[in-house]
């Protein structure tokens, strides 16, 4: 069996309720970290991702991980600056960041609730992206959107080029094409770039009914964007979970949890899994997580590994929790000891993938020798002697029922029937393509509001 086949088998075992041969290692590094390894200027690299290719290759040679070592970057200046973004900005030190921004004012909730997608185009995007002033300077807005898409495509081409080359050479695992997607939980979506973190914190107390109505209104849109093209045991829709740990439980239960839980259950009824990054410390919410569909992948940042494993380890695939700070605060021997200690807690019964509590942001967040030692310890120590045995509970999509939430509709979304009226000569065989093009605009808008 080649290393690539072994990796494929490891993840497949994890996702099909078997104990794998060894613990899979999910460690990758962003471009910002890789730039630091070679002393490259972060700003140059963000504008020309190809600069990191040699460094990626060197790190792939040195670090043992089962997924692609090259993690790309979540934000690029070529796109955001073409649009004069306020929600994705480069710092003086060359790191793309997301400041606290308000896309929707507190007195505009009703407009959002009535037609979220139209409100995004008409109100939110022009407010967050200074070049998207459709009303006063539509020509410039058109140029900006075109340039941003062009820039995005160029960056994507470079990133995928590096990624594919390294994956082929080192035999990394990846889930089947089309089986992955990503979105926020509905209330996180209306928080992050729409009402802002601080705006939502006051809305929860001042206008909870509007918050609940907005989360409901955006659900059909959120559902469509977060739904992978194909359902597959190894695929998942990824949700980074933002707000809950900053909320009181009663607000969480009433405002945040219902739409998230519904979306995850709706997907489960279609055989689609969810991968959730429980940001910050979710220990007070473990009972809620317990209600999620079997085999939901839960990545934790802080928390007690023993309790999490004990309460959730049989039903869910657990990852994260290993403190990244170990790499910079411990000696190599201490790192190895702590890794073994951690594996002793997390390995029994399977359903566990090794990963850090958070991704390193810059090269100084890791000590490379220690990172290498940790990964090799997981590879060599994280071996099961009962590989192939059943692991925990099994997922069956028939156990879940799809909700009757409304289907997505908007005054800004052209349906096939409307299209056909405008272009009657279009054959029915063109329908998937026409609908795909219209739907891509949803993803486009969503990506601008991440």
């Amino acid at each position: 069996m080649t290393l690539k086949e072994e990796r494929q088998q490891l993840f497949n075992d994890i996702y099909t309720n078997k104990i794998p041969k060894r613990v899979p290692i999910n460690v990758s590094l962003t471009m910002d970290v890789i730039s630091g390894y070679k002393g490259l200027n972060r700003k140059d690299v963000l504008w020309n991702p190809k600069l990191v290719a040699p460094a990626v290759e060197e790190l792939a040679e040195r670090i043992f991980t089962d997924v692609n070592i090259f993690g790309g970057n979540p934000r690029y200046p070529s796109q955001s600056q073409a649009l004069r973004s306020t929600n994705s900005v480069m710092s003086s030190t060359g790191l793309m960041q997301h400041p606290n921004v308000v896309g929707l004012k507190e007195d505009e909730y009703d407009r959002f609730i009535a037609d979220p997608y139209a409100c995004m185009w008409e109100v939110i995007l022009p407010r967050l992206y200074k070049e998207l002033d459709f009303q006063n300077d539509p020509a410039r807005a058109l140029f900006a959107l075109y340039q941003a898409n062009q820039a995005k495509a160029e960056d994507f081409r470079d990133i995928v080029g590096i990624s594919r080359a390294i994956s082929e050479k080192y035999g990394y695992y990846s889930a089947p094409m089309g089986s992955g997607a990503a979105c926020y939980a509905p209330m996180d979506f209306i928080t992050d770039n729409i009402r802002s973190f601080s705006g939502m914190s006051t809305d929860i107390r001042r206008r909870p009914d509007k918050v609940a109505a907005a989360a409901e209104a955006v659900y059909p849109f959120n559902y469509l964007v977060g739904k992978p093209s194909i359902a597959h045991a190894e695929g998942a829709s990824f949700f980074p979970l933002h707000m809950p740990t900053f909320m009181r439980e009663k607000d969480f239960a009433k405002l945040w949890w219902p739409t998230f839980s519904r979306q995850v259950n709706d997907y489960a009824s279609l055989g689609i899994h969810t991968r959730a990054f429980c940001e910050d410390d979710w220990m007070r919410y473990l009972d809620y997580l317990q209600e999620l569909p079997t085999d939901t992948r839960l990545q934790f940042e802080y928390g007690d590994p023993k309790i999490i494993k004990e309460k959730l380890g049989k039903k869910f695939v657990i990852t994260g929790l290993f403190p990244l700070s170990t790499l910079t605060t411990c000696t190599k021997d201490e790192c190895i000891y702590k890794t073994r200690e951690f594996l002793d807690i997390m390995m029994p019964g399977g359903k566990f993938i090794f990963g850090f509590d958070k991704n390193p942001l810059i090269y100084e967040d890791i000590n490379l020798e220690n990172l290498i030692a940790v990964c090799e310890t997981v590879r060599d120590y994280g071996v099961y002697d009962n590989a192939g045995k059943a692991a925990g509970e099994e997922f069956h999509k028939e156990d879940y029922t799809h909700s009757d939430s409304p289907v997505f509709a908007s005054s800004r979304y052209r349906t096939w029937e409307q299209y056909k009226q405008l272009h009657p000569e279009t054959p029915d065989s063109a329908r998937p393509r026409v609908e795909k093009l219209e739907r891509e605009m949803l993803s486009q808008v969503y990506s601008l509001l991440l």
Binding site: T202, R205, R248, L361
Partner: protein, 210 residues
Amino acid sequence: MDFNELKQAVGDLDEEVVLDILNKVMEDGGSEAKDALEACQRGLDIVGDMFDKGEYFVGDLIFAGELMTQAVDILKPALAGTTTESVGKVILCTVEGDLHDIGKNIVRSILEANGIEVIDLGIDTPPQKIVDTMIAEDIHVVLLSGVLTLALDSMKKTVDAITAAGLRETTKILIGGNPVSEEAMKLTGADAWAHNPQHTNQACLDWLKK
């Protein structure tokens, strides 16, 4: 006027009751505005305690900051010209390389409600700008905020710049935000650290009153 009720309402983050009492305080032009402000400040102590106990969370602190900004705005016309003086001036900023300002803004609201004058230098603040402002404004308390792990490095650079300018011995420096800890305080060379804005407030009051 029942200022205990006001204190408790601030502690409970009960906006309706707080605003109702404050508006009543202002009905006679605000003869008891100073007492009302003090009650609000004591209410913030309750908020800080609840945060320490894990009964309030960051979202509640944001709301507390918002509530105090409103309270000060209501009382301000009556406070002007009274004996309520500024306790002193501090510099507050998010350090170089970091664009996050939610925590900084909460701290600003809480400090201002406690009579502290805040020179807010914003986000991504270069060390030299902080040093220049310290000299120009004669400020000896500096509050450095950050969310990213790299903020610790910038905090250290800022402390070093203050030392290099010969100002360290007469300056108190507090670091705040997600990555700070006792260990980070030692690493950066700061004098104190805080996750709870009430602790930041208390440190500032202690330093400024000395």
